[in-house]
């Protein structure tokens, strides 16, 4: 079904298996329908002024990624929306309208990332906008939440400042007694203008901002950014650097899974779990610090390779630590599995059934807990994953327990990969020089971060500057799934269910 579209496509530089299709307003929706009919997903939707208003969508299909580009004819700034085909398109369309002033013709038209901090007619990513800062008022706006009416229904507003150490966002619960009838999220509080900041930067510097789109996924973002830039500049990354990047990515996955597994135990009332896993995480971060000189690898991956090599004895110590952490995590898993109180909280809480996950297009870890076994490391592997034979981990229950189980399985698998990568690490250089990038070229990076697939697209301007860079976090797809997961659960289970997804606010708000 997709063959007719692929016949007219051209490969995009960067990540493997990405095809570019030029769409027209008449074909834009039918392409999306064909993708949906063949089991594909919407990975991202964003807009660009180049200088004509343009909408782009990336679709994750079985054997490739299709990037469709719709250049709007004449002075048109609206396009047929995809929300009817992929419900997760709604918020991305709202964000594109806020940032670029390019509107979808369907779905929700409320602002999403713009609150009241800058003027409604200011479009940060559209040309000739001036600087709205002096006029920027600090006022509270009146967001039109969807109201639930009925006997005994009341609302609980939570945030943007939360009780724990978490990122800012607002949750509006409509409840009867303790039971949640509806949750509506309002995000955008962490919006700090990342895409405008990136525009006009040298291609050689953007990885520093990309790594800070979501600090817990710094390796995934900086790698995806570099993949895109290296693709358009035609750079050949030394093979040692590619393997070190994978080592860093699996290390990031281990660190985050350890943190989440402890926090999930704690949210289930088992403080022992937090103490144990936070100890393991600290040991792991110290091993990373010893091997790479950083606890969190924010500036490790750079265009052309990695910033510095790691000494062999340090890497051997890292492997030892990975084995130790995996063995202790296995012991702790047995304790979690046998603890009646923990099981009682985990099993059946916050369920996203497989058919709902399909409809919502749930990605990554949360998707794998609901029967969708997508993993870019297996489905569209870049080097060195082509040689690593990653084992996918998946469950079908879709509850907190399943998301915990996927984390335990992936932790063990990543520890195995760390051992394999260090054992097979090629010798040689770890950074190559970058050539110039052709102006107007579009590159794409795709990396399976610990949360799910991270995408970064980069369009080059002249003089090796960034024209437009769009980072996309899997949290865009998974935040709406959380709204569904909580329905029918009780309010006190929300922190546990929320933590079991552990979505990024910053990565979503940009």
């Amino acid at each position: 079904m997709l063959r007719r579209w692929l016949a007219d496509s051209s490969p995009l530089p960067g990540a493997p298996g990405v095809q570019h299709v030029a769409a027209a307003p008449e074909t834009w929706q039918s392409l999306a329908q064909d993708v949906a009919a063949s089991g594909g997903l919407l990975l991202a939707l964003w807009a660009e002024w180049r200088p004509a208003p343009t909408v782009l969508a990336a679709f994750l299909c079985e054997r490739n990624v299709i990037v469709a580009e719709l250049a709007l004819p004449g002075d048109r700034t609206s396009y047929p929306g995809l929300a009817g085909i992929f419900p997760c398109a709604t918020r991305m369309q709202r964000a594109a309208a806020d940032l670029c002033g390019i509107h979808a013709e369907d779905g929700d038209t409320r602002p999403w990332l713009r609150h009241a901090a800058w003027p409604a007619d200011y479009r940060p990513l559209a040309p000739r906008q001036g600087d709205p800062r002096p006029a920027a008022p600090v006022v509270a706006d009146d967001y039109a939440f969807v109201r639930v009416a009925g006997d005994g229904v009341h609302e609980i507003p939570v945030g943007p400042v939360h009780a724990g150490i978490i990122e800012p966002g607002h949750f509006r619960f409509s409840v009867v007694g303790e039971k949640v009838l509806k949750l509506e999220e309002r995000l955008g509080y962490a919006h700090k203008g990342i895409e405008q900041r990136l525009a006009g930067m040298p291609l050689a510097d953007g990885h520093r901002v990309a790594a800070r789109v979501s600090g817990d996924s710094a390796v995934a973002y900086s790698w995806a950014y570099c993949q895109a830039v290296e693709g358009i500049a035609g750079a050949r990354v030394p093979s040692r650097a590619e393997w070190l990047r994978a080592l860093a990515l699996e290390s990031e996955r281990i660190a985050n899974h350890l943190g989440d597994l402890g926090a999930l135990g704690n949210d289930a009332g088992f403080a022992f779990g937090l103490a144990q896993f936070s100890r393991l995480k600290e040991l792991w971060l110290r091993a990373l610090d010893a091997a790479f000189g950083q606890r969190y690898l924010l500036d490790f991956i750079v265009p052309g390779g990695v910033a510095r090599d790691a000494a062999h004895d340090r890497l051997d110590a890292l492997v030892e630590r990975a084995r130790g952490v995996a063995a202790e995590a296995a012991e702790l898993r047995a304790i979690y599995d046998e603890h009646a109180g923990v099981r009682d909280r985990f099993v059946g809480a916050g369920t996203v059934a497989p058919d709902l996950a399909v409809r919502l297009g749930v990605l990554g870890l949360a998707g794998r807990a609901s029967g969708r076994d997508h993993d870019l490391r297996v489905d569209l592997p870049c080097t060195p994953y082509t040689a690593l034979d990653v084992r996918k981990q998946a469950r079908t229950e879709g509850d907190v327990a399943a998301r915990v189980a996927v984390r335990f399985d992936e932790l063990a698998e990543s520890a195995r990969l760390v051992t394999t990568i260090v054992a097979r690490l090629p010798a040689g250089e770890c950074r190559a020089a970058m050539g110039p990038a052709p102006a107007g070229a579009l590159g794409i990076g795709l990396v399976e971060g610990w949360r799910g697939p991270v995408m970064v697209t980069v369009r080059a301007a002249s003089d090796s500057l960034i024209e437009r860079c769009h980072p996309h976090d899997p949290s865009w797809q998974n935040w709406p799934a959380l709204e569904h997961a909580i329905i029918g659960n009780i309010v006190p289970d929300f922190p546990l269910i929320n933590k079991s997804f552990n979505l990024s606010y910053s990565g979503h708000d940009l």
């Binding site: 943007p160 400042v161 724990g164 962490a190 022992f272 937090l274």
Partner: protein, 170 residues
């Protein structure tokens, strides 16, 4: 249960000694020593993420792990600014969070301390100031101590907190 107790017993106490205060982190001297003495070692902290990339939050969370064991020092992270003596704020302050940050500061009872965490909290970092970012924390609320780093290590964050509550060395 036996396995749980066995692990607790076999791992033992891993807490490390707390770092010394570091005067170079102090940017303002606002509290009288008498008040500092009262706050002393029963400090309540409210963390406010005013728009960070979440990197600083990872290291603030680490303060609770058994190695840094911040509660063992008498310092608690509390759920409301109304219970807090000190605000630990990460940035850059997004313009969408500016009002919430000011309200949180106002809701914190006097006398209060503010520690800005991370390069972005101290200077705006890689995000700087823009239509969406108001930059450093001190652009919005008074700051006593700043701890740079991207992210700063838990030890540096703890140093900054201890600097804020210790008498200024003159």
């Amino acid at each position: 249960m036996w396995k749980t107790l066995h692990r607790i017993g076999s791992i033992g106490v891993v807490t490390e000694p707390a770092p010394r205060p570091d005067e170079t982190l102090r940017v303002a001297e606002r509290l009288q020593e008498r008040i500092r003495a009262t706050l002393g070692r029963a400090l309540c902290i409210r963390v406010v993420d005013a728009g960070s990339c979440n990197g600083c939050e990872l290291e603030i969370n680490a303060l609770n792990n058994p190695f840094y064991n911040i509660e063992g020092l008498g310092i608690r992270l509390v759920a409301s600014p109304r219970h807090a003596d000190l605000l630990l704020v990460t940035g850059p302050v997004s313009r969408n969070m500016a009002l919430a940050l000011k309200r949180t500061y106002d809701a914190t009872p006097d006398p209060k301390l503010v520690v800005a965490v991370g390069d972005c909290g101290c200077t705006g970092g890689v995000f700087g100031e823009s239509y969406a970012s108001a930059g450093r924390v001190a652009n919005l609320i008074p700051v006593d101590v700043e701890v740079p780093g991207c992210p700063p290590t838990p030890e540096r964050i703890l140093t900054a907190i201890l600097t804020a509550i210790s008498p200024a060395e003159r």
